[in-house]
């Protein structure tokens, strides 16, 4: 399956860039001029490290979705069907990586779909789309 991967050897958690990845995602994917609505969020720690909040396509959300709105596409990426979503937010509550997100103006939640628009704009070349094995379905 296709997974967005961030290399923290290269990413400095936004200290020396303009969070281009977040902005590109917000503008190109979600059509909003607000990086807080991007499907990946780069956080800097005080100790100099950082982390990225993003979906690794683990599929736990598929298991808990009551309306079958979440399914893998042929690339193994977990996609949300807006027509089927009932806005219950169990996908948000059960995501251990806090990668399912919600824009207060929308009912349907959103997340990273490994589309790769962020990869191209990262000034440090820290982002990549990789092909990794699909994990086994868990009982949640």
């Amino acid at each position: 399956m296709k997974q967005l991967v961030i290399d923290f050897q290269k990413c400095d958690a936004g200290r020396n860039c303009n969070h281009e990845c977040e902005m590109e995602c917000a503008v190109k994917v979600f059509k909003v001029d607000d990086p807080a609505q991007a499907a990946l969020q780069i956080k800097a720690y005080e100790d100099g490290g950082g982390k990225a909040v993003l979906c690794d396509q683990c599929g736990d959300c598929i298991v808990v979705c009551p309306s079958e709105a979440l399914k893998r596409n042929k690339l193994g990426v977990v996609m949300i069907d807006k027509q089927l979503c009932v806005g219950c937010y169990m996908c948000i509550g059960f995501c251990e990586k806090d990668a399912f997100m919600r824009n207060p103006d929308w009912i349907v939640p959103h997340k990273c779909t490994s589309c790769g628009v962020c990869v191209k704009v990262c000034p440090h070349g820290a982002l990549s789309i990789q092909d990794v094995p699909e994990p086994a379905v868990r009982i949640i």
Binding site: C88, Y89, R102
Partner: protein
């Protein structure tokens, strides 16, 4: 007792998509249907949780009317159970009984119902005059009917009158159509009927989840203990499943009105159909709770793995699990039907939950059961549950410890349309009567009703469904069986009355209350009869030990029946309130109230309706309806102190073997609680000492609880209490009370 750990490798490998299908009967059903009335209406979505109109249908005269929801209805009765009681009060007279045409069945979901962001928000409340108690019964049920009814345009559905032939009432909330159809022939039992009707009324496969059916089964027509199945379509199993409006015989009223089924087809559900005033608060509160379930459920109740059956072993360990008609509180074979078994037997690889967004997901299902008896012998079925009440009532209370038989009993109760709790308790009573010679094989028509004889148990149920012999007698329920056995001269009347576990005509649910004074009151000092909807206090009393003193227990019997009433006004489920709690809950003041969750409910109500309330207002909202219901009982000829009396089995040991099985505990109580000396006393003498102490203590509890509730010592709400609640605005209510002051 150690915390159970879930082991996914032990879950049985059962294909949850496989079961016997009945769709080949669809054409025959369709051929027997004839439209007798069709009325258009304007579908509408709620505004701030209310559609602001209700639907009245008289199934006899075929009158179909819309009624406005007034501001007074919202202010005083809120919705759900409140709307049901309000409509029922206006529909009946003090002389009305359950099978009079003017009796109604009212279904109302409540203003919050249909929210998808918080667990347990899809409930319908069903209210009617009960054939078992002759007073209003209310039942809180999941499934999709209530929310889809509201999203079609109605805050409540009133059903009155009696049809001459079986009818189906179809509400199409997409096309704006109300249709009454006569039906000749075709199935009655829910698992067949609801499957057919769901496919009949859905417009294509994608529409199946937007259809919900209310139905019952063959036994409802031949007994007084009928219940209603509310369906929801399980997308992954690809089958129709049910939650039950179980208690009090509403299914019997339904069939007496010749209603075969109610069907609603609603719009596609989305997260904002209630049009709440503050969706942001709802979203944040819901997500916070979902996270709590994810983080805490595995270490607390494991509701997502076991459903409510998780407490079977806890009740057994604390001597609180009913065994052999509430004689004993534990049994060595309980491990065969405890949650370590059910979490292997129930399907775990799918989504459960009887409404969208229920992360607690207690609606477990056991798939792949091949039936051994009855009209569906050989069919492979999915059984909903078993819930705790079923495992305890159909299982330990009757001495049935074979899980497959327990599932079959559960299945047939469901599809025949009878309450599992009621059936469990009445069968336990029958079995004890059989044990004590009050009944014998001749009197039961050949049924050997010995403890654990599941085949005889099932045969009694099949006879109930056919309206035959002793099955019909059992279907009268414990109260009427007691009267009948005594009338026949079949045993010592006092013994029969002591061991028949009913109050007001309703059977006890499945907790041993002998050592829990709080639960004794929780059962008997109720509006509708003994159940655990109003006051499930046994866990906080006996397991968590959070209400140790007499005063604590009396206070709990004031607060919790009111707090829990509120769920039924709004369309909430009670389980998410305290079956998972915040990790730091025990450090909070009044931990037994789960204060963070109380605040969640306050916030969800305010955010939906725009009516700002606090936790005191919440109790006040409940108190209005709770006291109105008490006055309603009085209006119907019950509702006084004498009607709150408890059978002695619920208070203490009735028989010598019961006493001697726990002699150390009872002897010790003579010393510590009564200040007397048991030495040299016979068991009979010690039992008499207990009986006096226990009945006196219960009587004192009644005094304290009535006083705290603002009632006279005869159990009548005082005029001052009615004024405080604003119920003096209803002259009829005041008139009822005045006759008893």
């Amino acid at each position: 007792m150690s915390q159970l750990v879930f082991d996914p490798s032990k879950v049985m490998d059962i294909d949850y998509t496989k079961r016997t299908e009945y769709l080949d009967q669809l054409e025959a059903l369709r051929a027997g249907m004839r439209t007798v009335k069709e009325v258009p209406f304007q579908p509408s979505l709620p505004d701030k949780g209310y559609t602001n109109r209700t639907l009245y249908v008289n199934v006899g005269s075929l009158e179909v009317t819309e009624k406005p929801v007034t501001q007074q209805m919202k202010d005083v009765f809120i919705g759900g159970r409140g709307f049901g009681l309000y409509h029922l009060w206006n529909a009946v007279k003090p002389t009305t009984r359950w099978n009079d045409p003017e009796n109604e069945i009212v279904i109302s979901p409540g203003p919050v119902a249909g929210m998808t962001q918080y667990a347990g928000t899809g409930k319908s409340l069903v209210v009617s005059l009960s054939p078992q108690t002759d007073i209003p019964i209310d039942s809180n049920v999941g499934g999709f009917y209530g929310p889809l009814l509201k999203f079609s345009g109605f805050d409540a559905l009133e059903l009155q009158g009696k049809a001459e032939k079986d009818i189906i009432l179809f509400i199409d909330g997409v096309k704006g159509l109300i249709r009454v159809e006569e039906v000749a022939g075709g199935p009655e039992d829910s698992h067949v009927l609801a499957e057919l009707l769901t496919h009949l009324y859905a417009e294509g496969e994608k529409d199946l989840p937007n259809v919900s059916v209310v139905s019952t089964g063959a036994a409802a027509a031949h007994s007084l203990i009928g219940m209603l199945n509310f369906s929801f379509y399980d997308r992954r199993r690809k089958c129709v499943r049910f939650k039950q409006a179980g208690r009090g015989g509403i299914g019997t009223v339904f069939r007496d009105k010749r209603i075969r089924a109610l069907v609603v087809r609603g719009p596609k559900v989305a997260g904002d159909l209630n049009h709440p005033v503050d969706p942001e608060t709802i979203a944040k509160t819901g997500i916070k709770y979902h996270k709590e379930i994810r983080e805490n459920d595995g270490g607390q109740c494991m509701m997502r793995r076991n459903g409510t059956a998780h407490i079977v072993e806890i009740m057994d360990a604390y001597d609180l699990l009913p065994v052999h008609n509430f004689q004993y509180g534990s049994h060595p074979e309980v491990h065969k039907i405890d949650s370590s078994y059910w979490q292997q037997r129930c399907t775990q690889h799918t989504v459960d939950g009887c409404w969208y967004g229920c992360s607690m997901a207690c609606a477990k299902g056991a798939d792949g059961l091949v039936l051994k008896t009855g009209p569906y012998k050989g069919d492979m079925v999915t059984v909903d549950g078993p819930e705790y009440e079923n495992a305890a009532g159909l299982g330990s209370n009757c001495g049935v410890f074979d899980p497959d038989y327990l599932l079959e009993l559960n299945f047939y109760c469901d599809t025949y349309g009878i309450c599992t709790i009621t059936y469990g308790t009445l069968t336990a009573f029958v079995m004890e009567c059989y044990q004590r010679g009050i009944l014998n094989k001749e009197r039961t028509g050949g049924l050997e009703m010995t403890w654990g004889n599941a085949e005889a148990d099932l045969e009694m149920m099949h006879r109930m469904a056919r309206g035959e012999g002793f099955g019909k007698i059992a279907g009268l329920g414990v109260k009427k069986m007691k009267e009948y056995f005594i009338q026949q001269g079949w045993g010592d009347p006092q013994l029969i009355n002591d061991i028949g576990m009913e109050n007001k005509g309703l059977e006890y649910s499945q907790y041993m209350s002998k050592e829990s004074l709080a639960q004794q009151g929780g059962y008997a000092l109720t509006n509708k009869g003994p159940q655990h909807d109003e006051a499930w206090l046994i866990f906080m009393d006996m397991v968590n030990k959070q209400i140790p003193t007499f005063e604590d227990k009396a206070e709990a019997l004031y607060y919790f029946p009111l707090f829990r009433t509120w769920f039924g006004l709004n369309g909430f489920c009670k389980l998410p309130w305290n079956d998972v709690v915040p990790a730091n809950n025990s450090e909070q003041p009044e931990a037994h109230k789960v204060p963070e969750h109380v605040q969640n409910y306050v916030d969800l109500f305010s955010a939906t309706t725009g009516v700002k309330i606090d936790k005191e207002d919440l109790i006040m909202q409940s108190a209005r309806v709770y006291n109105f219901q008490r006055v309603f009982n009085i209006r119907m000829g019950k509702g006084l102190r004498l009607h709150d009396a408890a059978p002695y089995r619920s208070l203490g040991p009735v028989t010598k073997e019961e006493y001697e099985s726990r002699a150390e505990r009872y002897d010790q109580q003579i010393i510590t609680e009564m200040g007397l000396d048991p030495a040299g006393k016979s068991t009979e003498e010690k039992m008499a000492m207990h009986r006096k102490w226990r009945t006196d203590r219960f009587s004192k509890l009644m005094d304290s609880v009535y006083t705290r509730r603002g009632w006279t010592l005869d159990g009548v709400p005082t005029l001052a209490r009615l004024q405080e609640l604003g119920l003096d605005a209803f002259p009829e209510v005041v008139d009822v009370v005045k006759q008893h002051l």
